[in-house]
């Protein structure tokens, strides 16, 4: 290699080296930013998942509490004669749960059992049903509630 070509190589490398350095720096910055973005996105996803699990857990606990309350109400209705003074009040409390809190927590099977119990109560009040049927409906509803919160259903 003669002196002339050696000098040309030196000049060329003198130009290319800073360009490569700048490109390397830019790539590094871009990669860092990308990494940070991914990290932030993952953190958000984890937070969202945690929130969802927390919400489901709260809903499950709420469901458990509401089902327990509805089982108590239906039990009282099924064991109270329609001529008893308290019967109307008990039905009124049940109706409030029927159109209120239960809608928030019930699944389709429990909803069906609720409808069946509700219709049976109306029949019982109108002389079309009896206490035994009402007890069977209460049992059906409690079974549906128990299945709805069976082990493994909690998040």
């Amino acid at each position: 290699m003669d002196e002339e070509s050696k000098r040309r190589w030196d000049v060329a490398l003198g130009i290319i080296a800073p360009i490569l350095t700048v490109i390397g720096l830019l790539l590094g910055v871009w990669q860092f930013n990308r990494g940070e973005e991914n990290k932030t996105r993952l953190e958000y996803q984890l937070l969202a998942q945690k929130d969802e699990i927390d919400f489901k857990r709260k809903l499950w606990l709420e469901r458990l509490s509401t089902y327990r309350s509805i089982a108590e109400q239906t039990g009282k209705i099924a064991t109270t004669d329609k001529t008893d003074k308290s019967f109307k009040d008990l039905v009124h409390i049940f109706d409030a749960s029927y159109w209120g809190m239960m809608i928030f927590v019930e699944d389709p099977q429990v909803e069906k059992a609720m409808v069946d119990f509700h219709v049976e109560v109306v029949d019982y009040q109108n002389g079309r049903s009896n206490g035994d049927k009402l007890k069977l409906r209460a049992d059906e509803l409690a079974t549906a509630c128990r299945k709805s919160v069976a082990p493994g259903t909690a998040p």
């Binding site: 029927y98 159109w99 809608i103 909803e111 069906k112 069946d116 219709v119 002389g127 079309r128």
Partner: protein
């Protein structure tokens, strides 16, 4: 030795017991269906009034209102209904679909209903019901009274 001999007998007894239980269960179920059929149609037929049929006085067979179902023991039902002042009559089929402690399902003219009977001081009543599985769905009741024969 005695034990060996008594074993087949105990098996036979067990099988016979199972058979008896099965037969009695089936016959009880049939009896329940039979009782319901008897309640609905009697031995010849029962007239169930949804709305009393009122006919206009005078010539012709003009009606004012009314709807009546005559359930017969041969599993046919004659439905008489006043439509546009004329009494329309059609014959359809009916059958008991299922019976359990809570609900009896009946098929009338291809439509499934829940069948309910009850009595009070005003007479014998029957109800054909279509029930929704959801709260916002409607429960439709068609109430009939047994006509005095």
């Amino acid at each position: 030795m005695e034990d060996r001999m008594s074993r087949p007998f105990s098996r036979i007894t067990l099988w016979l017991s199972c058979l008896l239980i099965l037969i009695s269960t089936v016959s009880t179920a049939q009896e329940t269906t039979g009782q319901i059929e008897k309640k609905l149609a009697g031995s010849k037929g029962h007239d169930w009034i949804y709305e009393k049929i009122v006919m206009f006085m005078g010539p012709g067979d003009k009606c004012k209102q009314g709807e009546r179902y005559r359930f017969k023991a041969d599993h046919t039902v004659v439905i008489s209904k006043c439509v546009d002042s004329k009494l329309q009559t059609s014959t359809q089929n009916w059958s008991i679909q299922s019976v359990d402690a809570l609900e009896t399902h009946i098929d009338v003219a291809g439509t499934s209903y829940i069948l309910i009977f009850w009595d009070n001081s005003n007479g014998h009543f029957m109800l054909l019901r279509t029930k929704s599985d959801v709260k916002v769905g409607a429960t439709i009741d068609k109430q009939f009274q047994l006509a005095e024969e």
